[in-house]
Symmetry: C2
Subunit: 296 residues, 2 copies
């Protein structure tokens, strides 16, 4: 294999690496040694466990994501928006013990007011711009901490994060609602949740308890309950993110099932967002940043 | 002691009992054998461990709370609102093995649309009416599942439950926000959270993540973060409960610290609610129901 560099997406839960050749990825490797499990001294060994078969010579490694957080390998200071999503001038070199490694971290972005931060999505935004040159509009990254990013003239103008996915995980597995939740889905219940939250976001905490009461009184099924909860959470997110999506071209970057839910919810508001593969965007963004570094 | 009957408040987490004499409580006993820890066959032994010193002769025991839930000792069917908060005709007799016990459960209330249920608060509502005859207005029970109850002409007209306290517990101890939370308080941060949620309930999930971002970017302190989270949650509850409190006489029935937070939040909207002691209301309600039973 003619490995020219290694791309790394190092999040809270997972570590993913790609051996990159001149024409794109040659091989992929994944482990569960995410940032959340590692002390600073444990990052280099975790990386080597995954990529040492590829290190036949000194190789540049470029990583994005939570590896650059304050609790990560080493803190990569946020770049302040408005700014381009990635910039070779902002990357952080992290010294390593293994002489075969040259390790760099792409920093996240910050926004002063309203206070907000991202780590990883900025690289996906750069990937969207690489895959769709001249894109002007809004990129939505659904997930644990969903992000809406306004992109114009090649820059991140503003963004806003919603704790939607984390609320869903907590409420469906840790709260009193867990007793009435199960795998499965119900489109009508999801749609009702979206519509309800968009119309009455102030009733959010009451609608949550309604799931419990409707289970007890009206036989709401576990699948209906789970889909309605998802709808309520995505609906209140869409209510809050309306200044982002109203009248805009929207791109969704996320896992297929979640992107399908957001597409359905946005469809109820007359939007038809495009969906891009999250991994493809991450790789395109890291590749763009790597080529910028090489041109320096 | 001239024990004429025994009053019991049996919730999810705790079991509390009072030996009642002709003029009121003579003794109190508490254990942590709440409904949540007990299988149906374990309720009678748990009760006897607490009250057997008082059982010098056959004694009537009247209980309210989650003991009557589907997962409790025995299910006491909800009474449907609108109705009086308690009614001797609705109580459930539960057979016991110990011949000294005559055990009854006060049922909760249900509301068909919007679907809602309560178990325990109905007894406190009866207590408010016993302590303030002719009360007409709104009773707020802040807590894990906060309830707003509209009372008129001695009946519960309607009510609505908000999952406020449970959301606070989950977010402050289980979510990403827990890293920036600590005991302590900050009135200004609480007020800002209340105002923000009342004005923009749709931004709820974004404001949650802001707590994290303001910690990282602007040095929000753990005490400020905790107070702002409480303010956001109480604020969005007040936004949703506005049809209940707007222009109404409001009584708060709850723990002192929590009632003080609600008083402060309602004060920002020009209300000056009265606060009643929750235990006093429970005992007054059980006493009223007990005397109704005796008159049957």
């Amino acid at each position: 294999m003619d490995i020219t560099w290694i791309a790394v997406d190092w999040g809270t839960s997972n570590l993913r690496a790609w051996a990159m050749g001149p024409a794109g990825p040659l091989a992929q490797a994944t482990s569960d040694e995410g940032m959340g499990k590692l002390a600073p001294a444990e990052f280099e060994p975790a990386l080597l466990r995954l990529i040492s078969p590829w290190l036949t010579r000194p190789t540049a490694v470029l990583a994005c994501g939570m590896v650059g957080a304050r609790q990560g390998w080493r803190e990569a200071k946020y770049r302040a928006t408005p700014c381009t999503p990635v910039d070779a001038a902002g990357i952080l070199h992290v010294p390593t013990h293994d002489p075969r490694l040259t390790f760099h971290i792409a920093p996240g972005l910050s926004q002063d007011r309203p206070a907000d931060v991202m780590r990883g999505e900025e690289t996906q935004v750069a990937g969207v711009l690489a895959l769709h040159p001249g894109f002007d509009g809004v990129i939505c990254h659904p997930g644990t901490h969903s992000k809406w990013v306004h992109v114009s003239a090649g820059e991140v103008v503003s963004f806003q994060t919603f704790m939607t996915g984390e609320l869903f995980a907590l409420l469906s597995t840790q709260s009193v609602l867990r007793h009435g939740m199960a795998e499965g889905w119900d489109d009508a219940a999801f749609d009702a949740g979206v519509a309800d939250a968009l119309q009455s976001p102030d009733k959010f905490a009451a609608r949550l308890f309604s799931l419990r009461a409707e289970l007890l009184l009206h036989g709401l099924t576990p699948a209906q309950s789970r889909a309605r909860l998802s709808g309520l959470l995505i609906g209140i997110e869409l209510a809050g993110a309306k200044p982002y999506w109203l009248g805009q071209r929207v791109m969704l970057v996320g896992a297929p099932a979640l992107a399908a839910s957001y597409t359905r919810a946005l469809g109820s508001q007359g939007l038809a967002p495009e969906t891009l593969d999250a991994t493809a965007c991450t790789l395109a963004g890291l590749s763009r940043l790597h080529s910028q570094m090489s041109q320096k």
